[in-house]
């Protein structure tokens, strides 16, 4: 199958899929995907190290996940099943647009079920459902450099990573405790990967940090900052802390008001003007599956109403 421009499509099997023939498979041309794959492989070889790559302009603004989209495009095969989440939800603008984008340009199957997906692109959450060795988790990263707000010079932060000069990161945590009595960082909580590089896990809540040591491959793409980094399966990932102020993966002290789960990460939703609020799972797929299995929360409608 030839495009008007003459580029060969990535795989002959895509012919069967309903792709827009104006695009190469998964939008990017083969040379670009190859370049990104090389960066991904390098990132996997040096866990936590930020690999520079030649980030392309994507048909969406910076900050909407251009890095994650490029990594996903380079990772996808026609047989993959894609899931896209934004803050845990499958149905928000960002997730819906990116999912449509790959349906149109790659023709891959899409799903909302975490267990059925082979590639999951995520913005700011790790799914509640444990991931397996057969899955790849792609993060959208706004600012890949964990030392950025402590040291503005890129030349200096690179040197600090090279020399493992990470005292400054702990100064930040010290300042938090001195001023607030506890480490106040609740998202993008810095971690040390495989005992070597300090890494920003992208703005996931610190509740998700313990899950970073997982069987799935984790890839991080920052489009504007032109960096890719990775955590290979079963790599030790340690959240930074002090001996007398240990890391605490906290969440709202509540159970989900829709499905009753008390171990999932919760969003707080204001429901009226009188201070009424409810807590719901931020992972919509997890919540939905639990409700389908018959679990109910404190504010669930009566079962009769659900069936109606």
């Amino acid at each position: 199958m030839m495009r008007p421009g003459g580029d060969r499509v990535g795989d002959d099997r895509t012919e069967a899929a309903v792709t827009d023939p104006a695009y190469n498979f998964a939008y990017l041309d083969e040379q670009t995907k190859r370049m990104i794959r090389r960066a991904i492989l390098k990132g996997l070889a040096v866990p936590g190290y930020q690999v520079p790559f030649a980030s392309r302009e994507m048909p969406m603004p910076y900050g909407w996940g251009t890095g994650g989209v490029q990594v996903t495009a380079a990772t996808l095969t026609p047989d993959d099943t894609l899931k896209v989440i934004d803050q845990g939800a499958d149905d928000t603008t960002n997730a819906v647009s990116i999912r449509k984008f790959f349906q149109k340009t790659a023709g891959v199957a899409v799903t909302e079920r975490t267990a059925d997906a082979t590639v999951i692109q995520t913005r700011h959450r790790i799914p509640e459902h444990p991931l397996t060795e057969d899955q790849i988790l792609v993060y959208q990263v706004p600012i890949p450099e964990p030392l950025r707000f402590l040291e503005p010079r890129e030349t200096e932060t690179r040197k600090m990573h090279a020399l493992q000069d990470y005292g400054l990161m702990h100064v930040k945590l010290y300042e938090d405790i001195a001023q607030n009595g506890a480490i106040a960082k609740s998202y993008a909580y810095p971690v040390k990967v495989s005992g070597r590089y300090v890494m920003d896990p992208s703005p996931i809540p610190k509740f998700d940090n313990p899950k970073l040591d997982m069987p799935a491959i984790q890839l991080f793409g920052a489009g504007r900052e032109q960096r890719i980094y990775a955590v290979p399966p079963y790599t030790p990932v340690v959240s930074l802390d002090f001996e007398d102020f240990p890391f605490d993966p906290s969440k709202a002290d509540h159970a989900c008001d829709l499905c009753g789960a008390d171990t999932s990460y919760l969003d707080e939703v204001i429901v009226d003007d009188a201070g009424g609020r409810m807590f719901v799972c931020s992972d919509t797929d997890f919540c939905g599956e639990r409700r389908d299995a018959g679990h109910r929360g404190a504010m669930s409608p009566p079962d009769a109403a659900v069936q109606a």
Binding site: G167, L168, V171, Y174, E175, A178, Q179, F242, E243
Partner: protein, 256 residues
Amino acid sequence: MTPLLQVTGITRTYGARIGCRDVSFDLYPGEVMGIVGESGSGKSTLLNCLAGHQRPDSGQVVFDTRADGPRDTVAMSEPERRMLGRTDWAFVHQHARDGLRMGVSAGGNIGERLMAVGARHYGDIRGQATDWLGRVEIDTARIDDRPAAFSGGMQQRLQIARNLVTGPRLVFMDEPTGGLDVSVQARLLDLVRGLVRQMGLSALIVTHDLAVVRLLADRLMVMKDGNVVETGLTDQVLDDPQHGYTQLLVSSVLQV
């Protein structure tokens, strides 16, 4: 006795201009050496070369490390040199702002070196920070204030505390009293003298203020146009200067 620091033939040029030329000396443990000279005489260039901030064009700086004995720090790898920079060495800048993190509280400033060498117990770090604030005569209630809220003299004392907290063996000081008024200078000098004697530190003090070296230094090195023109015991050099430039320098001090 092994010298703590053996300097041989340090030369640093800036294109055709000479920073410092063929400087050699030994510094023994517990000794304080003053380097004096007018502006542009190469004092700071020399100090930066010795402390590893600049790379000398030629020469050796052999430091007696705790682990491996005498090592040439110029030929050392960058990680090793940085490690020395936050354990056995300390550098006190002329302007406290260059040596402090202005956006971080006093306690965080003192704790940084501790955390950089692996301290991970908040209570211990804070305890040491409090202890050091006391030793440099800063009210310990101000541990969570930022250095920007401190006076110039307090900032300089905080910088000294931040540098000495890891128990270094060699301190480089670049005009530590520059820009402070005389009564504050006197207190600072008194403090530094006390700490140097108490901790058995070796120090290299660069200054153009002869009173500072008279008070602190055991030995003196006089520099002019990048060259060392006279060395000797402090009192000997100041009371009986031999070189024409040293005579000029000594006679230029205003008598009150």
